[in-house]
Symmetry: D3
Subunit: 245 residues, 6 copies
C-alpha cells in the first residue's frame, strides 16, 4: 500500500516530521505501507488564517494531480484539511484529512470530543470544519494555545505545559472525555501530554493515518466527474480536471 501524504503548506520540514511520525506508527503496528510525502508548491509557510487555508486548497489539488499516480490512498496531512472535499471529488483513490480522520476515530473513544491546537485563529475555522463534518453535537470545545504549530514545532518542550493545561481544561471545564491534539507540527506530543491529562489524548497525525489505512480499499469507486476546461493552472492539474474519466 502506497499512501500519498500531502502537506499543503510550503514548509518541507513539517512534511518530513509528519511523514516520519506516520512511518514510526506503521512500523510499530507492523503495517506494510509506504509513505510518499509531498509539500505544497505555493502558499503560506504555515497555515494560520482563512486566506492561507483557501490558497492551500488549491496547492493540495496541485500536489495531488502531480503525485497521486501509483498511490492507493491520500492523506491530507494538515489539521483543518484545506481543500478536503475538492480532493475527494477528483482523486482516483480515497482521500482522508487529518482532522477528519482523527475526529471520526475519536468519536469511537469518547462521547464528547475536545480539540487542542496551536494558533488562536484556528478556533473559528475548526468550529466550521467540525460543523461541515456534521460532528458539532459531539464537540465539547476547541481550545487553542498562543504559539502556532510552526512555533511549537521549533520548540515543543516550551509548549508542553500549555498544551497539557488546555487538554485538562477541555476535560474539566468543557466536559470532553477524549481530546484530540491537532496539528502536523504536534506529531508525537500526545503521548508526552497524556500523563498530565485524565482522559485519553489522541495524536492527530497518528489517528489520521490510522483512518487513511482503515479506509484504503474499502468499497468501490465514486462516479467520475465531467471534464472541466481551465486556464493558468499547472499542467498536471489542468490535465486532471479536463480528464474524461
Amino acid at each position: 500500500m502506497r499512501i500519498l501524504l500531502i502537506n499543503p503548506n510550503t514548509t518541507a520540514a513539517v512534511t518530513e516530521q509528519a511523514a516520519a511520525h506516520v512511518r514510526q506508527v506503521l512500523h510499530r503496528r507492523l503495517i506494510p505501507a509506504e509513505i510518499v510525502p509531498v509539500t505544497g508548491r505555493f502558499g503560506a509557510r504555515y497555515i494560520a488564517s482563512r486566506a492561507a487555508a483557501a490558497i492551500a486548497g488549491h496547492a493540495a489539488l496541485d500536489a495531488l494531480a502531480a503525485n497521486v499516480a501509483g498511490c492507493d490512498a491520500v492523506y491530507l496531512a494538515c489539521f483543518g484539511d484545506p481543500g478536503l472535499l475538492a480532493l475527494k471529488e477528483v482523486s482516483p483513490v480515497p482521500v482522508v484529512g487529518m482532522a477528519e480522520g482523527a475526529l471520526h476515530l475519536a468519536c469511537t473513544r469518547g462521547r464528547r470530543i475536545g480539540i487542542v491546537t496551536g494558533g488562536v485563529l484556528w478556533k473559528p475555522m475548526l468550529t466550521e470544519f467540525v460543523a461541515m463534518l456534521g460532528l458539532t453535537e459531539r464537540l465539547a470545545g476547541i481550545r487553542t494555545v498562543a504559539p502556532t504549530g510552526g512555533e511549537i514545532a521549533r520548540d515543543p518542550d516550551a509548549a508542553l505545559g500549555r498544551l497539557a493545561a488546555a487538554c485538562r481544561d477541555c476535560a474539566e471545564i468543557d466536559g470532553a472525555d477524549v481530546v484530540v491534539l491537532g496539528g502536523a507540527a504536534l506529531a508525537g506530543l500526545a503521548e508526552r501530554v497524556q500523563p498530565q491529562v485524565a482522559v485519553p489524548v489522541i495524536c492527530s497525525v497518528e489517528a489520521g493515518a490510522r483512518a487513511v489505512i482503515a479506509t484504503a480499499g474499502l468499497a468501490g469507486a465514486r462516479p467520475a466527474l465531467p471534464p472541466t476546461e481551465s486556464v493558468g493552472l499547472s499542467e498536471d492539474l489542468a490535465r486532471m480536471l479536463s480528464a474524461d474519466r
Copy 2:
C-alpha cells in the same frame, strides 16, 4: 461609492454580463455607485465542481489583492461564493457574496427559500454553503437544471421553460414561498420567469448587489490579522498577506 465586482471564474464575458446587469439596477434605483469588474486570472472557465470552486477561492483572493485599492466594497459575483470567508478576513472593505447577499435578502421576503440554478453538481455544494451561512432551516429546497450557467448564458431562451418549471416545483412541491434564481450567468432572467411562478422570484445578481450596497459603510472595521509569510504567490497577494496592517 466604488464596488469591486470579482468574477472568480476565468470567462470575461460572464464578468461583463454581471457588471452590466448591476449597472442597470443601480441606474434604475438612482444609486450613484461605480462598478469595477475583474475576472479570475486562473482556474476553470465555468465553476461547476468542488475542485473548480477551491481554485476559484485562490483566484478571488488574487483578484482582490490586485484591485481592491480605492474601492468601498467588494461584490464576489459567483453564486456559491468561492473563498468568501477568506476574502472577508483579509479585505480592508466589506465583502458580500452573491449567494450570501441574495439569500439573506430573500429571507426578508419569504419564510422558506427555494434555490434554482444551472448545473447538477451545484446542489450538494450549495447545500453546504447554506449550512455554512446557518440558513438551513430557512431552505425549502435546491433544484438544478441540467444546462450549466455557461450554457444558459449562451442560449437563455432555451432554458427559460426549465427554469420556470424548477421554480414552480420549489413552490408547489418543496413549499418555498420565495425562490432565488442563482448564478451570474442568469442575470436578468428572474423577471422573465416571474410571470410563470406564483411566488416571488429573486434575481441573485441584483439581490447580491443590493446587499453589497446595503452593507457598504455599515459599522466599523474588523481587527487586522497578523502578517503571513508565503511563497509562490502573485506579488500583490503576497504583499496583502504579509502586510502588517
Copy 3:
C-alpha cells in the same frame, strides 16, 4: 420611494427619534426616500414583556391597515419586531423588521453575531426571535443592560458605559465578531460606542432601514390570502382582512 415606519409602541417621541435617525442616514447616503412615521394607537408605552409585544402585534397591524396606502415598503421599527410575520402576510408591499433586517445584514459583516439591548426581559424574547429567523447558529450571545430602551432614550449618556461594556463582553467572552446594538431608542449610539469596542458595532435603526431599502421593489408580490370576517376591529383593519385581493 415612500417607507411607512411603524413604531408599535405608544410613545410618539420614540417614533420621532427613529424617523429622524433614518432620515439622517438616507440623507448621508443620498437616497431619495420619504419616511412616513406612525405610532401605535394602543398598548404599552414601552415594549418590555411578552404581553406588551403580543398587543403590539395587533397595534402594528392596525397601524399598517390605516397607513400603508401609497407606500412602497414598511419598516417595523421596534427591535423584536412584534407581529412581523402577520404584517408580511397581509401587507401589499414588503415589510422588514428592525431586528430582522439588522441581523441579516450583520450576518454579512461577521460570522458570530452579538446582540446588546436595554431591558433584561428582552433576552428570552430575542432568543426566540433569532430562532424563528433560523439564525441561532450565527448567534454568539445576547446581553441586556438593566435600563430599558425608554430609560436609555431619556439619558443616553448615562448608559453609554454599560452598553460599551456589554458589547466588549459579547466580543471577548461570547466570541462575537460583530455586535448589533438593538432598539429604536438606541438610534445613533452605535457610533459613540464603537471606539470602545474592537469589533464592528451596528446600529439596528440604521441597519434595519438599509435592509428595508434593499428589499423594496425586489421581486414580485406574494399570493393574496382569502378574506377573513372579523368583529370588534378598527374599520381599516377589518377592511384589510376582509379584502378579496
Copy 4:
C-alpha cells in the same frame, strides 16, 4: 378546581362545543373540575391566518384579564395557541395551550407525531409553533384538509373521510406512530376517525384538557413581572399589566 377555557376567536358556538367536550371528558374520568368558558371580544370569526392569530393573542390576554380571578388554571383552547407565551407570563395561574398540551402528551404515546387539522394556511403556522415548543425532531409531518375548522364544525360528517385519509397518510407516508387531530372545532372526531387509522389518534381538545389538569397546582409560582404602563386597552387588561404583583 376551576378552569378558565379561553376561545380566542370570536365565535361563541366553538367555545360552547369545546367546553361541552371537555366537560364530558371530565365527567367520564370522574374529575371534579368546573369549566368557565369565555370567547374573544374582538378579532376573526375563525382563526386561519397569521394576522388573525396575532390579533387573537391580544384578545386572549383581554379575556384572561377579565376572567381569570378565582380560576386555578387556564386552558387556551385554540389549536395553534395564539398568545400562549404572553398569557403564561402575566397569568397568576398556570396556562396550557391546546396544541402545546396535546403535543407534549402525544410525545408519550409515540416517537413521531403527525398533526392533522383543517385549513391549509395552518401548516406553516403550526410548523413554527412546533419549532417554538422545541419539538421539531418529534414531528413526522403536518397535513391539512381544505375545509377550515369552522366548516368542519358545521358539517363534520362531510369531513370525516378526508380527515381519516390525512391521518393514514401521516402514518404511512410520513412515518407518524401517533396522530393529533387538532382544532377546537374537531372536538370528538378522533374517536370516529380512529377505526380507520392503524396508529393512535388523539383528540386535541381532550388531550389539551388532560394536560391542563395535570399541570394545575404542580410546583410554585413564577416570579412576577415589573408593572407596564399602557394606553387604549380594556380596563381589566391595563390593570393586569400595571399591577405591582
Copy 5:
C-alpha cells in the same frame, strides 16, 4: 384505574418510597387510582452508571411481563427511564417514564428547563436522554450533586442545602425558569427546596405520576409487533415476546 409502578433498580425501599409519595399525590387530588409497585429482580442496587441502566432496561421488561396484567398504565419510576422505548413497544397499555413525563409537563410551566439530581455520572446519561426525547432546545442545564439518590434517600436533610443551591444555579447561571428535581429517591423534596428557589421546582415523582394519569386511556392502541423467539429469559418475558398479539 390501576397503575403498575416499576422501580427498575433492586432496592425495594426506593420502590416503597416512590409508591407512597404517588399515593399521597393521588389522595390529595381525589384521583381514584390504585398503585401496584414492583421492584427489579436483578441488577444494580442503585442505578448510577450506563451499565447499571442497560441491565435495568432488561429488568424493567422482566417486571412488566410478570405484572402488567390487569393494569391500565405503567409508570417507569426511575429518573432516566431505563428501557423506556422497549417497554412502550411491547406493553399492552401506555407506559410513561418518570423523566419523560416530568420533563414534558415541565415544558408547560417554563421555557427553559433545569434538571437537578444526585450522582455525578447521571449528567451525560440524562443529556442523551433529553436529546432522545427531542427536548434539547428546552434544556437550560443539568446539575448533579455528589451524593447519589441512594445516599440522599438515607439522609435527605443533609442534602437539602446542596440541592437548593444547585436549583438556584440552574435558575441564575443556566437561565432555567423551571427546575425538575429528579429521582425516585428525592420524592417530596421539591416542596422543601422550593422556598429557597425563585423559579418553580417540580418533583419528578409527582410530575411523572400526573403524566401517567393524563395519558392513561388517551387514544387507541399501538399496532402489535411480530412474535420474537428467545432463549434464557424468564417465562413471563419469553411469553410476552413470543405472543402473537
Copy 6:
C-alpha cells in the same frame, strides 16, 4: 492483537459467519489479529425489536465480563450496537460497534450516507442510533427490506435483488453518495451488490472490523468508574461492576 467479537443475539451461526468474514478481511489485508467470537447467553434469536435490543444490551455486558480478559479490543458485532455506551463505560479495552464503526468510516467516503438493512422494525431504531452518534446531518436515508437479517442469512441469493434496489434508491432518491449495507448476517454481500449500484457500497462487518483495528491501542485509558453493588447477575458481570479499578 486479540479482538473479542461479541454477537449479542443468541444464534451461534451468525457469530460464526461474522467471525469468518472478519478473519478473511484480516487475512487479505495481512493484519496479524486473532478473533475471539462469543454469542449472547440469553435473549432473542435475532434482534429485530427494541425489546430484543434492550435485552441484548445486558447480554453483551454479560459476554464482555466473561470473555474480555486477554483481549486488546472489543467488536460489538450487531448492526444497531445494543448496549454500546454501557460496554464502552466498563470495558478495560476499547469497544467499537458495527454500526458505529461502519458509519464513521463511511463518512470519510461520502458526504451523505445511506443505510440498507433487513427487517422493517430497524428503521426507527437506527434513526435514533444515528442521532445518538450525532451523525443525523450526514444521513441521506435508511431503507429496510422486508426479510430480516436472519432470513437473508438463510437465503442470501433471494435477497440480493431487493438489497441492490434499496441501495440504488438510497443513491437516486435519497441522494446518498455512499451506502452502508448493515447487518452481521449480510457479511460479504456488499461486493455482490456493488456492480448494480453507482455509488460505493460498504460492508458493515468489514468496515466495523477495520474501525476496531484502527482504534485498538489509540491513546490512553478512560478513567475508572466507582464500584456498583448488584444482585441476580452472572458472577463475572457482578464482579466487573463491583471492581474497584
